[in-house]
């Protein structure tokens, strides 16, 4: 069954969000199937972050329709299937990467095919597992946040600027994670200003207009 014949994971029809009666971005239409990557492009202030938060369920749709697996979007229906990584990393700075991951897996469950040590190794934080995040660099904090992508089971990834603060190796890491997730049948929506070196095929592009 190819990706095109199954119901799209996420579907948007004239999707719009209003803040104080002003639309934040022009109405959007797109379809995202399992095994697909979509790139959200737009200038600063065009509403990329707002769109991702809307799709994650943190904001309410103002106009238009959002469908999850063919049915109208409902929080309960997609609970546990969406992984959202925003600008704020969602990590406690007083805890180390290992402790933050333990909490995330306590809430979301975890994949059994990889150990915590292997995860830390993969993101380049081997040896920093118990160091409070406060003491790590911005890039290391980002890597600790990315570690969740390896452990938390989710069908759809919503990543807001995943490449920010990362060096060459970090960027390669993100691309590797994206390729693996898409090859395994997951879907990804990424917002980025540039430099997406994704090798798994041409990504769908969603252009944001203010």
């Amino acid at each position: 069954m190819t990706a095109a014949t199954s119901a799209p994971l996420l579907e948007a029809h004239r999707l719009s969000f209003h803040r104080q009666d002003e639309p934040v971005f022009a109405p959007l239409d797109f379809r995202l199937h399992a095994g697909e990557l979509a790139l959200v492009e737009g200038d600063n202030g065009s509403g990329k972050t707002t769109l991702l938060r809307l799709l994650a369920g943190l904001l309410h749709v103002s106009e238009g329709r959002l469908l999850w697996r063919g049915a109208p979007w409902q929080r309960e229906a997609c609970a546990g299937e969406i992984l959202f990584l925003g600008h704020q990393l969602g990590q406690k700075l007083d805890l180390g990467p290992r402790e933050n991951l333990a909490f995330a897996t306590g809430l979301h469950g975890r994949r059994d095919d990889i150990t915590m040590d292997a995860v830390l190794d993969e993101v380049g934080l081997a040896g920093y597992g118990d160091e409070p995040l406060r003491r790590l660099s911005a890039g290391q904090k980002k890597r600790a946040a990315l570690a969740r992508l390896l452990l938390q089971p989710a069908a759809l990834w919503l990543l807001d600027e995943p490449y920010a603060n990362l060096d060459r190796h970090g960027i390669a890491l993100v691309n590797r994670l994206l390729e693996r997730h898409v090859a395994a049948g997951g879907a990804v929506l990424v917002s980025s200003h540039g430099a997406v070196g994704f090798h798994g095929g041409e990504p769908q592009r969603i252009r944001m207009h203010a």
């Binding site: 994650a56 943190l58 959202f84 969602g90 007083d94 402790e99 306590g106 469950g109 975890r110 409070p132």
Partner: protein, 228 residues
């Protein structure tokens, strides 16, 4: 792939917040220190009038503990909102109200429990008769979680607004009054040798109501705070 069960998630939430409180245990000492200072100063301010001190002891300890808790209340959700942890909590498959209930429990354990542990010491400094101390502890065990729960709802409502600390104190005051009246009433009755169970039962009933409703109200308020 292992799914997270509800008890596992509750335990993870509790463990994380208690661990965080332990990492910042210097901050936890503040309310305790404040309570000790206030109670130590009272006998100096009022003179060695034993009868007077005994009469006000129960009320002073109660008010001091509640005010000390107020100091720590503001910080309940602040750090989670700032670093994006609250967003992740909203997105988690578990009911938000339940997770917030665990947060409030952890907050109570970290801030109120130390105060309750030193309460007999504080009461002793003000010469509260030993017969009234168990009732004081019971009243505190009921009044402090009530304050944590009510405070949590108000902190959630004022989250993200400027001068939220001031707003919080103003809004919390009218809610504190009945709690203080009933709790102090119980202690005063115990001191006189009169039956003290009725006000304690009222506190208990209010606590049960709040345990059920406050986390739900908190969840609704925080969702609104995140929306904005």
């Amino acid at each position: 792939m292992s799914r997270a069960s509800l008890p596992q998630a509750c335990a993870a939430m509790l463990r994380r917040d208690l661990l965080l409180a332990w990492r910042r245990r210097g901050d936890l000492a503040m309310p305790v220190l404040y309570a000790v200072i206030v109670v130590v100063l009272f006998p100096f301010a009022l003179g060695p009038d034993l009868a007077l001190l005994q009469r006000i002891a129960g009320g002073v300890v109660l008010v001091t503990v509640l005010l000390a808790m107020l100091l720590a209340l503001d910080a309940m959700f602040a750090s989670d909102i700032e670093d994006g942890s609250l967003e992740q909590l909203v997105l988690a498959p578990q009911p938000l109200a339940l997770m917030l209930g665990m947060k409030i429990l952890a907050h109570w354990l970290a801030t109120a429990l130390p105060l309750i542990v030193i309460a007999p010491l504080l009461a002793g400094m003000l010469h509260l008769p030993a017969t009234a101390i168990p009732v004081l502890l019971l009243a505190l065990l009921l009044a402090t979680p009530l304050l944590s729960l009510l405070g949590a709802v108000l902190v959630a409502l004022t989250a993200g607004t400027r001068r939220s600390g001031m707003l919080l104190a103003l809004m919390l005051l009218p809610l504190c009054v009945p709690v203080v009246i009933f709790a102090a009433g119980a202690v005063a009755a115990a001191q006189e040798g009169l039956p003290w169970f009725a006000p304690v039962a009222w506190l208990g009933a209010a606590l049960i109501l709040c345990v059920v409703l406050a986390p739900l109200a908190c969840a609704a308020a925080l969702r609104i705070a995140l929306d904005a």
